[in-house]
C-alpha cells in the first residue's frame, strides 16, 4: 500500500530531484583482493559489487572458442537486497538480466586477445533500489578495466522512466514500480553505440526519442565519473618521503 506521490507540486520528484538529475553516484575500483578486477558502484541506494576472474581456462572445454575468449556473466541478487526476501534460487529475471548484461559488454571487450579462455563477470546486487542492471553494467566495465582486459570503450548504464507523464533520469525503485515506463540503456559513449536497450512500459515515438536523449546525456556524466574512478588510483599514490 502507499503509492508514493512521484511528482510533487513544485515539479520535483519524490526524493527532491529534478527530472534530469542523477542520484548521488559513488564508484570504487579494485575493492576485492582475490579478483582479477573489481568495482563497487552505487547509484543512490542501489549498491552493486562486480568481480572479474580471468581470462582463465575452465574445465568445461566444450564451451571455449578457438578464436576468442568467452564471456560468462552472472547477475545475482543477495536475498536481503530487496524489500521482500528474494529466494536464493536463480529467478527468470536474473537469468534474463545475466544475458542482457553480458550482451551489453560483448561489443566492447576485445575477446580476440585471449582465445580459448573464459572471462567471468560476477555481479552481486547488495541493495536494490531501482536501476540495478544499469549500475551493474557500469560496475562490470570498471571491473573489466581493473582486470586489465582490453576494451574498445567503457560501457555506461542508466535508466530513464516516465512518472506522471514526465520523463525522468535514473529512476529509483518507487519510480520503477509506480511509473508508466522503465527504459534501461547502456552505451559506449566514445564509440557512440547502444549496447543495452530495453523498454518496460509504453511510450509514444516522440517520448521514446526524448527518453533516449535523456539517457545519453545522463550516461555522458556517469562516463566522466567512471574515468575519474579508474585514474584516481594512480593520481592518489603519494610518493613516500
Amino acid at each position: 500500500m502507499g503509492k508514493v506521490k512521484l511528482l510533487r507540486e513544485d515539479g520535483l520528484r519524490h526524493d527532491g530531484r529534478r527530472p534530469d538529475e542523477l542520484r548521488p553516484i559513488r564508484m570504487q575500483v579494485g575493492v576485492l583482493n582475490k579478483a582479477s578486477g573489481s568495482a563497487l558502484v552505487e547509484y543512490g541506494a542501489t549498491k552493486i559489487l562486480a568481480a572479474v576472474h580471468g581470462p582463465r581456462e575452465i574445465p568445461q572445454r566444450h564451451l571455449l572458442l578457438p578464436s576468442r575468449a568467452i564471456l560468462r556473466c552472472r547477475y545475482h541478487m543477495l536475498t536481503f537486497s530487496t524489500h521482500e526476501r528474494k529466494s536464493p534460487a536463480p529467478s527468470r529475471r536474473e537469468i534474463e538480466l545475466s544475458k542482457v548484461i553480458r550482451e551489453a559488454l560483448e561489443p566492447v571487450v576485445m575477446a580476440e586477445v585471449f582465445p580459448r579462455t573464459a572471462i567471468d563477470v560476477f555481479i552481486e546486487v547488495i541493495n536494490a533500489d531501482g536501476g540495478t542492471r544499469t549500475a551493474s553494467v557500469t560496475a562490470a566495465s570498471l571491473a573489466l578495466a581493473d582486470a586489465g582486459i582490453p576494451m574498445r570503450d567503457l560501457v555506461i548504464g542508466v535508466a530513464v522512466g516516465k512518472v506522471d507523464g514526465v520523463l525522468v533520469l535514473d529512476i529509483d525503485e518507487a519510480e520503477d514500480m509506480y511509473g508508466e515506463a522503465d527504459m534501461p540503456v547502456a552505451v559506449a559513449p566514445s564509440l557512440g553505440i547502444v549496447t543495452l536497450l530495453q523498454l518496460n512500459g509504453v511510450l509514444t515515438r516522440e517520448e521514446f526519442n526524448e527518453a533516449l536523449k535523456l539517457a545519453l546525456k545522463g550516461a555522458q556524466t556517469i562516463y566522466s565519473m567512471a574515468r575519474e574512478a579508474l585514474k584516481s588510483r594512480y593520481l592518489e599514490v603519494k610518493v613516500e618521503e
Binding site: S36, G37, G54, P55, R56, E57, P66, V108, M110, V113, F114, P115, R116, T117, S141, A145, D146, A147, G148, I149, P150, M151, R152, D153, L154, A188, P189, S190, L191, A226, R227, L230, K231, Y234, L235, V237, V239, E240
Partner: protein, 244 residues
C-alpha cells in the same frame, strides 16, 4: 635511437591519445577509431613525436606468455610424462619430463612426482606458445630448473619492466644495494636470495614500493634513497649512506 623523452599520459579505455599517423607498437592496447588513436586499457600511453611511434604501458593486467620469457611457476599437477605448471597466465604451462630430466621416461616404471611434485617451484623459459595449445616451458638452460631455496615476491606482471629498469638499471641497483641475488621473471614472480633476513625484508619492501609507484617518474633515485634509509634504520650501515 631517439633520446628525446616521449610524452606520457595516463589514459583509460575509450580515451583518445592523439590524432594523425603513427606506428602503433602495442596493437592490443591502442586502436584506431575514426582516425583517432584510442586506448583500450588503464595505463600510460607514450607518444614519441620524433619516431612517430605510439606505445602503451598497462598499469593492470595478467601475464601473457611470450616465447623466450623467463617464468617462475608452481607445479599444480603431475601427469604421466609431464607436469602442469601454474605461471600466472590465462593458461597453465606444460613441462615435459623428457625436457626436465634430459632423458626419456617410462611412465610404467617411474613416478614423476619423485622429481617434481605439486607445490614445487621451477624457473623455466617459454619454449612454444601458439593459439592451438597452452605454453610449453623448458628447463634446459643455465639457471633454469627446480628452485630449492629463496623467497618469491609476487608483483603485477605489468610492473616487471620497472623492476628491471631501462637497460637493467633498476635490477642492477637492487642487487648492488642489497647484496641479494635477484631473478626477475616476466610473469611477475621475483626470486630473491639474500645473505640475511634484514636485507631480504628491505628488498621485499623496495620491490613492493616499485610496484606501487611504477608510474611516478624519478623512481630509481627514490628506491636507492629508500634502501639506504632502511639500511641505516637497521644499523646495517652508519650515518648517511654514500650516494654514487
Amino acid at each position: 635511437m631517439s633520446s628525446k623523452e616521449a610524452r606520457r599520459v595516463l589514459v583509460v579505455p575509450g580515451e583518445v591519445i592523439c590524432e594523425g599517423e603513427y606506428k602503433v607498437l602495442t596493437p592490443n592496447y591502442i586502436i584506431k577509431v575514426n582516425g583517432k588513436y584510442v586506448a583500450t586499457a588503464v595505463g600510460l600511453a607514450q607518444v614519441n613525436e620524433d619516431s612517430k611511434e605510439l606505445s602503451f604501458i598497462p598499469l593492470e593486467g595478467c601475464y601473457v606468455p611470450q616465447v623466450d620469457d623467463i617464468v617462475v611457476g608452481y607445479v599444480v599437477d603431475v601427469g604421466l610424462t609431464y607436469w602442469e605448471v601454474d605461471i600466472r597466465a590465462p593458461f597453465t604451462a606444460t613441462l615435459y619430463a623428457v625436457d626436465f630430466l634430459g632423458r626419456p621416461v617410462n611412465p610404467a616404471k617411474e613416478d614423476l612426482s619423485n622429481y617434481l611434485s605439486t607445490g614445487d617451484t621451477v624457473i623455466a623459459k617459454i619454449e612454444i606458445f601458439d593459439r592451438n595449445r597452452g605454453p610449453i616451458i623448458t628447463t634446459k638452460g643455465k639457471g633454469l630448473g627446480k628452485v630449492i631455496h629463496g623467497t618469491i615476491v609476487e608483483i603485477s606482471p605489468v610492473k616487471v619492466a620497472r623492476v628491471i629498469g631501462r637497460r637493467g638499471s633498476m635490477h642492477q641497483l637492487l642487487q648492488s644495494e642489497t647484496s641479494c641475488d635477484i631473478t626477475v621473471a616476466r610473469n611477475g614472480r621475483i626470486l630473491i636470495n639474500c645473505p640475511n633476513k634484514e636485507l631480504e625484508d628491505i628488498l621485499v619492501m623496495a620491490i613492493l614500493k616499485i610496484e606501487r609507484e611504477a608510474h611516478i617518474p624519478g623512481l630509481t633515485d627514490r628506491i636507492k634513497e629508500f634502501i639506504i634509509r632502511e639500511k641505516v634504520k637497521r644499523g646495517l650501515i652508519g650515518g648517511e649512506g654514500k650516494a654514487t
